[in-house]
Every structure is written in structure tokens, then in C-alpha cells.
Amino acid sequence: MNNNKPMAIAKKNLWTENPIFIQVLGICSALAVTNTVLNTLIMTIGVVLVTGFTNLTVSLLKSLIPKKVRMIVQTLIIAFYVIMVDIILRAYLPDISKSLGPYVGLIITNCIIMGRAEAFAQGNGPIISFWDGITSGAGYMLVLLLVSVIREILGFGTILGIRILPDTAVTWTIMLTPPSAFFIIGFLIWAVKTIMQRKEKKS
């Protein structure tokens, strides 16, 4: 931790320590929702909000929480925000809430959120912790949106339900099935790592 400047934190969370590419965290709930861009967008906005507010709360309460029980307290704080997200989704976007199924609840066990609360919010001020949570969530969001854009274009020929490819284009059935998410993430990690290794060699 050499600097805690907002820009440095953002760069770290979005790129050099991207939760998915580099730390391979939070994949659990990540892949299943990437079949359409809309689902992914809603789901990841939920994750961004939960990560941000959990960090804020943990940071505010850090002197009040006894060290021994902090894990369970953090889990309860996360669960509290996830319940709010779930209730809001069910009230305003019932269709999407239904198609996300168990994955909204699974935000609770998303290792990114607990990881950031433990690694950052425990030792930093509330505002900067909130920012750290938001940018970590955004790093996660970017990767998932990329995966879902690839899957929706090749699988349905659309983005957000709007047709992009001509009707004559053959859609790839595999993009609608779970294995495609694994392949896309695998190849994305390959690309990102290669770019990073090249940069390292240059410097």
C-alpha cells in the first residue's frame, strides 16, 4: 500500500489488480448471469452498490466490531445490503429478478466484497473505503459486461435486445450454454496477462 490516492486506487482496482483477471475472485456469481447484457448490467450494478456500501459501513464501524467476530459481522452487513437489492429488484424489475434466480442472493458469498472489506475498509477511512468498494465493483462489472456482450452478440445477434448482426448471420448455440462463459473468460485472461507481461518486459 504505497499510496491511497483516489486515482491510484481506481487504476489498481480496474486494471492492475482487477478482481477477476488477476485475483480470480468472485467468479461464482459472475458467469451464470452473463448470457444477456441486460441481466449482467443489473446484477453488476447490484454488486457495485453492495461492495461500496459494505466498505463504507465496515469502515465506519471498524472500531466498534470486536476482532473475533468481525467475519460474521461483515457477512451480516453484506447480507443486509443484498436483501435491500433483492427487495428493490423484486419491486421494480420483477422479470429480471426472476431470471437472475439465486444469483442475487449469492452476492453475499461473493469473495470480492468480503475481500475488500477485510483488506481495505478495516484499515482506512469511510470515504476512501467507499471509493475503493465502488471501483472494485466496477472492475468486476467491466469484465462481466465484456463477456456478456460477446455472448449476446454471437448467441442472439443482439445487444440489449437490439439486433446488431443481420438476420442471415448464423448464431452460435454454444454461446447460450455455460461452457462458452468459461472459454471467453479463459481467453480474456490470456489476453490481459500477455499484455501485462509485455509491459513488464519493457519497463
Partner: protein, 197 residues
């Protein structure tokens, strides 16, 4: 209403065609982290089977006998996670008392399991799909076995991959994801036989 699925069919479906890991992506974090080593993979897999069976049954009871009559369904996330954490803790103590040898192999994985999304995921699936008591128990057990099969196969494959010539950027998580993708396709091959969604 409860879906009309024969428990035996449900069992095989949850082990193979609807494998929670390969079809629903549940429990990926520990799956990738632990599958580097075959022995740990086996230990974690067995622990997941036990915990899944216990927590599915307990959470079914808690949800249908306590939360639904009291109209507290919206608290389910918090209640489920507390039940999981508590039962893992108790299981850890029981195993420690009964068999120290088993504790040495399974014990260290038990705390990890509390935050394993496979457990909470299966419990939420049970509740969303509205399974009966027997179906829940069978689904919990089958999902655990499916997860165990997936993690020990991946651990075995990764051992072989260590010696394979892989481009530097693809080493580690990259090639693991592609391997899991291929495994998922293989498991999907069963889906013509039966499917449960």
C-alpha cells in the same frame, strides 16, 4: 407447489446434467483455488458433500417450518447464512471429537466452506424450485457428489497440465478456465438423458 420429480431422477440429474458447478457456476472460487492439489481437492470435495446434505435438510426445515409461517421470507438470506455457519461450526467440533484423523483431512476445509457459494447457492435453488423435504435431501447430496466429481477430475487434469507446453500468458487461471469449459461440455453430453431446471 412442489415439482413432480422422482427423487432418483433428481439425484442423477444433480450429479451429472445439472451439476451445480459446471451448469450453474456455483463454488467456482474454491474450485479454482484448491484444485491445484489432488489431496486437498478430495478433502474439500468430501467436506462439501457432508455440509451440503446437512445444510439443505436444515435450511429446508428452517424455511418451511419457521420463516414461512411467520411471514419472514425476506430474511431468508441472513437466516440461511447463519444456519450454514452454525452447522459448519458444530460439524467441525463433532468431527474433532469423534475422529481426529478425519479432522486432519477435512477440518481445515470446513471454515472455507461457510463462504463457498455452492452451499448457499444450492440452498437458494431448493427454495426457488420449491422442492419437498425428500427432494431437498436428495438434491443436496447429489449436488455435493457432483461437485466432488468435478473438483477431483479437474485436479487430476491440472496435474497433467503442469507438464504441457502452454503459452506463458495462458498458464494458471487461463488454461484452467478453458479446461473447465471442456469439462462442462462433456457433462452437458448427459443432458439428453434427463434435465431438471
Amino acid at each position: 407447489m412442489t415439482p413432480d420429480i422422482n427423487p432418483i431422477v433428481l439425484f442423477f440429474a444433480s450429479v451429472f446434467t445439472s451439476n451445480i458447478l459446471l451448469a450453474n457456476f456455483l463454488g467456482m472460487c474454491s474450485f479454482i483455488a484448491i484444485s491445484k492439489d489432488f489431496k486437498s481437492a478430495n478433502g474439500l470435495g468430501l467436506a462439501v458433500i457432508i455440509v451440503l446434505l446437512i445444510t439443505s435438510v436444515l435450511n429446508w426445515a428452517v424455511y418451511h417450518l419457521i420463516l414461512v409461517p411467520l411471514n419472514l421470507e425476506y430474511l431468508r438470506f441472513i437466516v440461511f447464512i447463519i444456519v450454514i455457519a452454525a452447522s459448519v461450526q458444530i460439524l467441525e467440533m463433532v468431527i474433532d471429537r469423534i475422529s481426529p484423523a478425519l479432522y486432519m483431512t477435512l477440518g481445515i476445509f470446513l471454515p472455507l466452506i461457510t463462504v463457498n457459494c455452492a452451499i448457499l447457492g444450492v440452498v437458494l435453488l431448493l427454495q426457488i424450485r420449491n422442492y419437498s423435504f425428500v427432494q431437498s435431501a436428495v438434491f443436496g447430496l447429489g449436488s455435493g457428489i457432483g461437485w466432488w466429481i468435478a473438483i477431483i477430475s479437474l485436479a487430476a487434469i491440472r496435474k497433467k497440465l503442469e507438464k504441457a507446453p502452454i503459452p506463458a500468458g495462458l498458464k494458471g487461471p487461463g488454461i484452467t478456465f478453458i479446461t473447465i469449459g471442456l469439462m462442462a461440455m462433456a457433462f452437458m453430453g448427459f443432458s439428453g438423458i434427463l434435465s431438471v431446471q
